[in-house]
């Protein structure tokens, strides 16, 4: 298999091209700009579209345009820009348009800084825009997954006709790892029944999120909700490491899961039975798996680059069956291994006494 050593941000574009994405619309922002740089190089070279939009608002609405034609399209940004996309995402979800939006999350709130953070978890998983909708949210933790999960995001977006989001951080975006370059395959979805692409075949189609009558809008919402339930049922992804006999299950995603992974064996060498559960899909959240673990695991710890966002979903999943602890750094501070080990000791040794 062809391999290349590449940045996570570049791997996103490789995954997108392999998925058949044909149009990229974006606006520069650190630390997501490399994605736009790669898109500017590769999309036109392959006969596709790259536009540097006048704002993130325009970019997401351009995505709405191409997505409404049944053509794979994407945009990428970082936190402040992602905030600007919320209205457009709500429209895309309402109009049931498949598209992929990448958020390389940086420190907030406000202009914050450009360092890695995970403070956009709520915005991504709880619907930062208006109305009853959900984003499918995937959280890669390395360059290979930046590629593979982007590709998967396109498939999920098409399968459910809903926007899908890649949530990553500056570290995962900037770091380089070996990536297996994927082999593109034809797209197995037919959009001719709803997409309006300016051809005679789709002349009767309408792309819209307006539903004037309350009865009809309720019906539309219930239809979306049924779809979201299906996603929850079928699309949860997560990874476990040494949770089998764990006294403490640490839950972390993205780059934090890598740091935690490094500490699990170290903790075990000290006799601390620590395991890791890493959500790969943030929405749908691995609620069932965590709920099952909570039947026998005496304690949980959420580690995040935030002041405590994902931990709320963890608490809902554990539902009072075990204590749920939280450890977070933010503003661009990243916990070191030693820092986490101290935390494990506190919980486990405190728990035993």
């Amino acid at each position: 298999m062809a391999k290349q050593f590449m940045k996570g941000n570049d791997a996103i574009i490789v995954g997108a091209l392999a998925a058949g994405c044909r149009a990229y619309y974006g606006y520069p922002i650190t630390p997501a700009s490399e994605i736009a740089h790669a898109a500017a190089l590769h999309f036109p070279a392959l006969g596709g579209v790259f536009i540097q939009a006048e704002s993130e608002v325009s970019a997401i609405n351009m995505v709405y345009g191409t997505a409404g034609m049944g053509i794979r399209t994407m945009t990428a940004s970082s936190s402040p820009g992602f905030s600007l996309k919320q209205e457009g995402l709500s429209y895309a979800a309402g109009a049931e348009l498949p598209c992929v939006v990448v958020n390389i999350v940086r420190g907030g709130p406000g202009l914050g800084n450009i360092a890695p953070e995970q403070g956009d978890y709520f915005q991504i998983t709880k619907g930062g825009g208006h109305g009853n909708y959900r984003l499918i949210a995937l959280a890669p933790n390395g360059a290979q997954e930046m590629c593979d999960l982007t590709r998967k995001a396109f498939d999920l977006a098409d399968k459910y006709r809903n926007p899908a989001c890649i949530m990553a951080d500056g570290i995962t975006g900037q770091m380089m790892e070996v990536v297996d370059i994927p082999v593109p395959e034809p797209i197995p979805f037919d959009h001719s029944s709803w997409a309006a692409d300016g051809t005679a075949a789709t002349r009767k189609n309408l792309v819209s999120s307006i539903v004037l009558e309350p009865e009809e809008l309720e019906e539309h919402n219930l239809k979306l909700d049924a779809k979201y339930r299906e996603i929850v049922e079928n699309e949860v992804l997560y990874e476990e490491y040494r949770t089998d006999d764990a006294d403490l299950v640490v839950v972390a995603y993205g780059v934090v899961s890598r740091i935690v992974y490094s500490t699990v064996d170290q903790a075990r060498a000290e006799g601390l039975k620590v395991g890791l559960l890493r959500p790969i899909t943030l929405w749908p959240y691995p609620e069932k798996a965590l709920s099952a673990l909570a039947e026998r695991v005496p304690a949980f710890l959420a580690v995040e680059l935030s002041t405590g966002q994902m931990v709320e979903d963890l608490r809902l999943a554990v539902n009072g069956k075990a204590p749920v602890h939280f450890y977070g750094r933010c503003g661009g501070m990243v916990p070191g291994g030693e820092e986490l080990l101290t935390e494990y000791r506190k919980i486990l040794e405190g728990g035993r006494s």
Partner: protein
């Protein structure tokens, strides 16, 4: 209002419309929108473009444009129709794309989209219905509202010093180089309507011929928002509005632009083509069967920007990759890079790599004094520290660490350029760790270094560093 003489581009019965009256439009009596729709539909018929037309309805009273036009339809967010239209046109250059917008939509919330679509010379047509008011939301001030005009948000009339002046979009857009055709017309008198019909047709023809961006501002009536009856509204349009919004052509390059000038190309997804393209991105060497590795490398390389610290990390990473090992490289980025310092973390292992950040290195390279001061304490006991002694004056703790001090910059100068000091250091790293055979490193560097003329110098630099550690010279 009833629309008579329905054109084939107009639905006979407006099935998408809610409520019982499916043959009348949803517009108020005396509203300009219905008439303008009809003229657009007729132009679509005449130009035989209906089947490939896409009509983008805005937010505003014309949000329901899709009730009427028998072509592909999009409903866009408030102000964003030009962005949507841009994307549709770029993704199918054969489509005829119409962005139909009110004054709030186009000249207030969507000003940026309006200007930039025009400035890019998108080959789309924008119909701008200027009725000097926000119709749909209940008669609030629009950017085009006249001085003195009362609205629900200017109850005492629009005042220049409080609300600014009515904005003239046609004139403003005409200052841009890209647009091909910009005209302001009106629907007050039958003569004006005839001109409007012509302008609409012309604008769409320009698009059909690939001649670029066309914009028709149509001064129109909103009897409801203006709180007037339809006749008074028409009079006010003619007598008052046109004083501020003079009719005329503000730009017309249609005779000077060749057909197809603004056509853009778009290719659909061809998996084989993408495959060939992606395959060209692959690394310039094949990955070997996984080699042995004495021990995991957790490296931190630090120095000044420009010393090739990041490249040193990249070279070592690619050597690890070629050896079939797991590798991660992470640069300090952003403000950390300010003040001229640079550093990167490299992990190489036969096992899965956890954190890409190296906070406890077993191999530290320092090419300046601040890096020695900052990172020495982080190195694990018994770890190796490699110091460019040409630059760094301080001494590392040789009791706790395996210290290699070599004058890498001087050695590089001997090779011919200080720039290869990082490769001298690479030689030292490889020798000090016994991670890879020197020949394996050399053949990897040969594949990786793009400039042929630099290869010899790099080989020599690598050997110097390697031999220095192995043989002490």
């Amino acid at each position: 209002m009833k629309v008579f003489e329905k054109s084939p581009s107009f639905y006979e019965v407006f099935e998408r419309k809610s409520g019982p009256a499916k043959e009348a439009t949803h517009y108020c009596p005396g509203c300009g929108h219905g008439n303008i729709h009809k003229m657009i539909a007729e132009a679509m018929d005449d130009l035989e473009i209906t089947e490939r037309s896409v009509f983008v309805s805005p937010v505003g009273c014309s949000v329901f444009g899709y009730y009427y036009f028998d072509c592909g339809n999009f409903q866009a967010a408030h102000g964003r129709a030009p962005a949507v239209a841009t994307a549709v046109k770029r993704s199918n250059p054969d489509a005829i794309v119409i962005s139909y917008q009110g004054d709030g939509d186009l000249a207030a919330i969507g000003t940026a989209e309006t200007i930039h679509a025009a400035n890019r010379g998108e080959n789309i047509t924008v119909f701008f219905v200027n009725n000097a008011i926000y119709g749909m939301t209940g008669g609030q001030m629009a950017p085009t509202t006249m001085i003195g005009q009362r609205s629900t948000t200017t109850p005492l009339g629009r005042a220049e010093q409080i609300h600014g002046n009515p904005i003239r979009m046609a004139e403003m857009l005409a200052t841009l180089p890209a647009p091909t055709y910009i005209e302001r017309v009106a629907v007050g008198t039958s003569k004006q309507i005839m001109k409007t019909r012509k302008a609409i047709r012309k604008a769409l023809k320009i698009q059909k011929e690939g001649k670029g961006y066309s914009f028709v501002e149509i001064v129109s009536t909103c009897p409801t928002g203006w709180k007037m009856d339809p006749v008074a509204a028409r009079d006010w349009l003619v007598d008052d509005m046109l004083k501020v919004f003079p009719l005329g052509v503000f730009k017309d390059e249609s005779d000077n632009v060749d057909e197809g000038t603004w056509d853009r190309s778009f290719e659909g997804f061809v998996p084989d083509k993408v495959n060939t393209y992606l395959d060209r991105m692959k690394s310039p060497f094949d990955v070997t069967e996984e080699l042995d590795l004495v021990k995991d490398l957790n490296c931190k390389f630090a120095g000044f920007g420009g010393q090739g610290i990041l490249t040193l990390g990249l070279f070592l990473s690619q050597i690890g990759m070629r050896a079939g090992h797991q590798v991660s490289w992470f640069p300090a980025y952003g403000p950390e890079m300010r003040g001229g310092t640079a550093n990167c973390s490299v992990n190489i292992s036969r096992d899965r790599i956890g954190s890409p950040l190296v906070d406890r290195p077993n191999m530290l390279v320092v090419m300046n004094q601040p890096s020695l001061d900052a990172f020495e304490k982080d190195v694990v006991d018994g770890g190796t520290i490699i110091v460019d002694s040409t630059i760094v004056e301080g001494k590392a703790d040789a009791k706790r660490l395996n210290v290699v001090a070599l004058p890498a910059s001087d050695m590089a100068d001997e090779v011919g350029t200080t720039k290869v000091a990082n490769v001298v250091i690479l030689g030292a790293v490889v020798a000090a760790t016994d991670a890879y055979e020197p020949e394996f490193v050399e053949s990897t560097l040969r594949a990786v270094i793009k400039k042929q003329s630099l290869i010899d110098m790099n080989m020599e630099a690598f050997r110097k560093g390697y031999d220095f550690v192995k043989n002490g010279n």
